[in-house]
């Protein structure tokens, strides 16, 4: 009552209108646009006077950005004070930074898609997927060439590596998380060390112990698979361990208190609960390995012919073949280079999407766990994938 009487009568209506927190006003837009235009004019005149010409567009952009930021900062500071000016400049930085990151991504993906389309889905469409490159050097326009040999090679090599790595890595992760013993500390140390290892070293290692002793006949899908396995192992162990850690301890205790022996507790409760997460962990490892170039470059040997047997004879795979297409034949095989790159990206992205979908899949048994797993896996997806 007192409050109402104290208020000036004319002010009541406006005071009760809810205030909008973020509004784009004409003034705010003008405060942004005018400094931008002013900076453009200023730098343009300066460049014209200095005779720098139109070729220096990048220099223009750099100078314009600097002048614009100064203009904008000073103008806002004059009108609203230093605090607001700092806030606006920070917002400018945040927006510009994330736009740069996104535009580079769009640029790269767009470029690969545009240039790879010709080979992968355009003119060479069916044959690119069904023929090998054994007629690649032939100057016959009707000769059918493709990347089948490389696709088969990648599938076989990564498949072999996965077969070897998965059981070993998952069981090692179970050891680390469920019943750690004396080996837990050394295991964690070596796995941590390995996960930061530059991938080229794995390739060099297999090259030295496997390929060289066989007088360079050791180039094979198997050698490539071994080097891929070295890259995959630490990734899969670390991700699996983090997934297992998310299984609630109460589930384990419930199993044990019902009288289940340890092995049943692990096999029937822990692993099924974490199944989706473990599959994700493995797929992440596979996706990472499939895109690796340096190790397979040193070990697979490469061959334009389709070689179905990974155990003997040099074999191509996608990264290695793309690299050699780019390196050897020059502009003539640029179509193949980008086509191969596009297929490679598609393979890796498919695996990632698969990992994401499985990682976020729900089971009735532990919906809660799955939800937490999902959040965690999103983070892991990117972190693991970016580790060399």
């Amino acid at each position: 009552m007192t409050l109402v009487t104290e208020r000036p009568p004319g002010d009541v209506a406006t005071a009760d209108v809810p205030r909008r927190l973020s509004v784009i006003t004409v003034a705010a837009v003008a405060e942004l646009v005018i400094p931008a235009v002013a900076a453009a004019c200023l730098v343009g005149v300066a460049f014209a006077l200095a005779g720098l010409g139109t070729g220096a567009w990048m220099g223009f952009v750099i100078c314009w950005s600097v002048v614009f930021v100064i203009n904008y900062g000073v103008a806002t500071a004059k009108r609203h004070g230093a605090l607001v000016a700092k806030d606006r400049l920070a917002r400018l930085w945040v927006v510009a930074g994330s736009l740069i990151a996104l535009s580079v991504l769009a640029w790269i993906l767009g470029y690969v898609l545009l240039n790879g389309w010709y080979a992968a889905f355009g003119h060479e469409f069916p044959s690119f997927w069904t023929h090998d490159f054994s007629k690649g050097g032939v100057l016959d326009t009707k000769a059918r060439i493709g990347a089948l040999h490389a696709i088969v090679g990648t599938l076989e090599q990564v498949g072999l590596a996965t077969l070897v790595t998965t059981p070993l890595a998952v069981l090692a992760a179970v050891y680390l998380n469920e019943m750690p013993g004396k080996l837990a500390v050394p295991l964690r140390v070596v796995v941590d060390a390995m996960s930061g290892m530059p991938s080229v070293i794995a390739g060099l290692f297999i090259f030295i112990i496997w390929v060289v002793p066989r007088k360079l006949d050791g180039f094979s899908g198997l050698a490539a698979a071994m080097s891929i396995a070295i890259i995959m192992m630490p990734t899969v162990i670390r991700t699996s361990e983090e997934v297992l850690r998310l299984v609630p301890g109460t589930l384990r205790e419930a199993a044990l208190s019902l009288g289940a022996p340890e092995r049943r507790m692990v096999l029937k409760v822990v692993l099924p609960t974490a199944r989706a997460g473990l599959v994700t962990a493995v797929i992440l490892g596979v996706a990472r390995a499939a895109g690796e170039t340096a190790p397979v470059l040193l070990t697979a040997g490469g061959s334009p012919r389709l070689n179905l047997n990974p155990l003997s004879g040099p074999q191509a795979d996608l990264p290695q073949q793309v690299y050699s297409w780019y390196g050897t034949a020059g502009p003539a095989s640029l179509h193949e280079t980008w086509g191969g790159a596009l297929v490679l990206i598609l393979v890796v992205l498919t695996l990632f999407v698969l990992a994401r979908m499985l990682g976020s899949g729900r089971s009735n048994r532990a919906r809660n766990t799955q939800r937490r797993l999902k959040a965690r896996l999103k983070f892991l997806t990117i972190r693991r994938s970016s580790q060399a």
Binding site: D87, V95, L102, A169, S199, I208, E262, A294, T337
Partner: protein, 327 residues
């Protein structure tokens, strides 16, 4: 009634002695544990064997070349030959530092955008896109770098050497413009952006929300909240994130091998063709040095690089985990 009571009391008397709370492990359980132990042991032995093997191959070169291996840039394979990787080491560090300097502000901006500036759906899309950036194989970045990006940078480079040559790094060099350590650094920057973004975002999102809201409620600006609440909380994590990115940048192979026109000598003209990095050295020479000392020298070069990345990664992980514990 009384009789049952007496019976119960006597039963208690019998069971009262303390008993072991661990039951002996059954044989299948012991076998299961054994299996797990064997797997763990196998992994440890395999990895340890790899390390020992590499070290054993590298040792003779280290003994004969000594410090010269790290202080000269002459790479003349043969028996005994001359091996020095100073230029490549410096090149590796240069590329990584350029990448970090470029990627860090962009990553931090992206992380802040995701955490503080972008609402709802757009935020999820942004996270997904940054994940996508991490999923692209490094070979593709390398191809893009050499085919598209290198040409694009050439113009501005010439402009810089013409009008900004007062700055030491922009002085005209001996080689051609482009295919340079600087271009490699820029491309590697694109590759490390997602990792720095995701790790620093994770750490910043652990800031207690009520403190952030408190800062805003006191009338602070968003930037004020970021500098006074989030940054003090997440500083260590962000530094760790940058170091993780640095470790990744140091080991990057394919992008550099594709882009750089490698000379292997130390160069301060980072805008011009020339220089080299350790991974590129390995990829360039592995098939040419022959199975003798040349390979051993390459192994030593690889191990040196590994030691470098390992050191950076260990420090980074320590910092990040300490930042996590504070939360």
């Amino acid at each position: 009634m009384t009789t049952t009571g007496v019976g119960a009391a006597s039963a208690v008397e019998v069971d009262d002695s303390p008993r072991a709370i661990h039951s002996p492990r059954s044989r299948p359980d012991t076998l299961f544990r054994g299996l797990l132990f064997c797997c763990a042991a196998l992994v440890v032995v395999l990895i340890a064997a790899i390390m020992l093997f590499l070290a054993q191959r590298a040792w003779p070169v280290l003994r004969t070349s000594g410090l010269q291996f790290f202080t000269t840039s002459v790479w003349r394979p043969g028996n005994p030959g001359q091996y020095g990787i100073l230029g490549d080491l410096l090149g590796t560090v240069t590329v990584a530092l350029v990448a970090l300097v470029v990627a860090f502000p962009i990553s931090l901006a992206t992380a802040l955008a995701i955490n503080e500036y972008v609402p709802g759906v757009a935020r999820r899309v942004l996270i997904m896109l940054i994940d996508l950036l991490a999923a692209v194989p490094s070979l593709v970045y390398g191809l893009w770098g050499v085919v598209v990006f290198d040409n694009l940078v050439n113009g501005p480079t010439i402009w810089l050497t013409k009008y900004a040559d007062f700055f030491p790094l922009f002085r005209p060099g001996p080689g051609k413009v482009g295919r340079s350590l600087f271009v490699c650094g820029l491309v590697v920057a694109v590759m490390v952006t997602p990792i720095i973004t995701s790790v620093s975002r994770e750490v910043m999102s652990q800031t207690p929300r009520e403190q952030c809201e408190g800062a805003l409620a006191l009338g602070g600006t968003k930037w004020g909240m970021i500098t006074d609440v989030i940054m003090p909380f997440a500083r260590n994590g962000i530094i760790g994130a940058a170091l993780l990115g640095l470790g990744r940048a140091l080991g990057e192979t394919m992008a550099v091998t594709l882009i750089l026109s490698i000379t292997g000598s130390a160069t301060s003209h980072i805008l011009f063709a020339g220089g080299g990095t350790v991974p590129a050295l390995i990829v360039d020479w592995y098939s040419q040095v022959g199975p003798g000392r040349g390979l051993d020298a390459l192994t030593l070069a690889g191990l040196t690089l590994f030691a470098l990345t390992l050191g950076v990664n260990v420090v980074a992980r320590m910092i990040v985990s300490r930042a996590g514990k504070m939360a």
